[in-house]
Symmetry: C2
């Protein structure tokens, strides 16, 4: 790991990050991902110090099944944005990520151009075990990269468990990538994702698949127009694109810009971010309270037993909760 | 309020309820809705005693905008089911319900035939103030009416806040009633409801509106078929009906039966109920823990202040949570 590095104060770290020092940014992210209490304290002080320098980025979430072309799309979109003068960070939320074996997301080999560009920064998913832990660290990393001057932050995820909802809760705009499909194999959209999607992009709209992609886009467009109330602020548009041929991505960014302009003007963007921050606070409070109070092995074991009793209809949920609370009070 | 009633033991109350004694059922529900600690203890003991006698009903949730015909639909459907030998209970979840002024749901004057039928039982929404309180009491009341022999339990709600999600979490089947619409006024479905709907019924499909209702049904049917993955266990069907003319409701019940048969055979019905019970336990535990630990006025006030600091971007959510936990520990 090299010689012991000179330890830096919060002020020095903060100043370095705001200056754009990539090595210090990486060090700060490592602090945020660390479970050591002294690292955590430093990380929290640093985040607090940098907070006024955050919030200026476009926060975009991207999801899609493996094989839909997320990496290619992010790489191409990122390069287009950099050509327009943006600085692009790419983060990932992958609750299946492990220390060994890594993650299928945030893969620098598949975003080869961004991976080596000075105006881009890619960070694989933290391997933290629980979705709650991964999302927390990703939110904190987002604050760090924003303070470091990245004005577009893309958060990539796959459709595992509630990871899409978790990412939608930390971004301004949530984009769903889909395949052109075809024949009898209309893919459909995972329940819960319909609700959070701000746009659908049918990727791989090239070659023999172009016509199919347009038909699929028209189908989804029609379906969404029927289901989403006319009175809603925003009906998710459905576009086609070919990331590998770099076609359609300008239109994609234009829609994202349109959404941002509209939501900024109406105050909804700010309201959304404020609600996200407050929700984060409340869900973190719940999580940590529960974790602290049930830290005792005996209590954890009894909770599991009571859970099974409730599941099997042997006791009512209120009775189980009464017993757990009594145990905790002792 | 009449002479002081002889107070009954849990065993006597339980036996009476299982026997079908309506007065005792009503008394038990009043206990469940009471906030007095002695009533609550009795209620919880009673629920525990009756638990083995519960779970045998069809649990159906119904929502729809005011004016769509919920009361008429429930009244007619209920009468049809009673004619088939069922016993029907109707509950309501209305977080806007107040002690004075009551609720627009569970209105016996608008379900006039069920209101006086011996094989039906209607209970208006508890006026408990919070959605959490109302849903808890409704779930408990559901257990009581099931133990009393009602084998169909309908839970009515309107689209206020998260009330639909709360009801979907306690039923086997969630039905969304809609108007025929027409012209440029396609209603659309509230976000979040698409995800939980097991069937859509276009009501008031009569007279001049019949053709429009069929078109609207075809539109929604097509949209759902596109959006819901082909691999999903159940694609919500879209039917038309006229509750006031009693047309289409047999087909509605047939679909509900089909769903139940399918889900029972696959084990999904049982899995869904088990998950609902366990989720109820966990959310109640979270709620009560938080309520107990933040009961102190100073703590509540500080939490509100920190919430505003987080909302305004003055401090990070993790920092706010750290401070709240420290306050609680003292």
């Amino acid at each position: 790991m090299g010689p012991k590095r000179k330890s830096l104060s919060v002020e020095e770290l903060a100043a370095g990050i705001r200056r754009g020092d990539r090595a210090l940014l990486a060090r700060a992210i490592t602090l945020v991902e660390s479970t050591r209490p002294d690292d955590q304290k430093l990380a929290q002080d640093l985040l607090q110090a940098l907070l006024p320098a955050t919030g200026n980025a476009w926060r975009i979430g991207i999801t899609g099944v493996p094989g839909v072309g997320k990496s290619t799309t992010i790489d191409q979109l990122g390069m287009n944005l950099i050509a327009q003068g943006h600085k692009v960070a790419v983060l990932a939320v992958d609750p299946t990520s492990r220390r060994t074996g890594g993650s299928i997301l945030g893969d620098k080999t598949r975003m080869a151009r961004l991976a080596v560009h000075p105006d881009a920064f890619i960070r694989p998913s933290p391997s933290s075990g629980t979705l709650g832990g991964v999302t927390r660290r990703t939110r904190e990393t987002m604050l760090l990269v924003e303070a470091a001057g990245f004005d577009v932050v893309i958060v990539e995820t796959v459709g595992v468990g509630q990871s899409e909802t978790a990412v939608a809760d930390m971004v301004d705009f949530f984009l769903v990538l889909m395949l052109p499909g075809g024949g009898d194999e209309l893919q459909g959209i995972k329940k819960g994702v319909i609700e959070i999607a701000d746009m659908i992009v049918i990727n791989k709209a090239d070659g023999d698949n172009l016509e199919q992609a347009k038909r699929t886009a028209a189908d989804y467009r029609g379906a969404l127009n029927i289901l989403i109330p006319r009175s809603a602020t925003w009906t998710p548009p459905v576009l086609v694109a070919s990331a590998v041929e770099n076609r359609g991505l300008d239109a994609v960014w234009e829609k994202i810009s349109e959404h941002r302009a509209k939501m900024s003007a109406s105050g909804e963007l700010q309201a959304r971010r404020q609600a996200q921050a407050v929700d984060w606070m409340h869900s973190m409070l719940q999580e940590r309270l529960l974790a602290e109070l049930t830290a005792h092995d005996d209590i954890r074991r009894r909770i599991k037993e009571l859970e099974e009793d409730v599941r099997q209809g042997r006791i009512t949920a209120p009775r189980a909760v009464d017993e757990i609370l009594q145990l905790i009070r002792k």
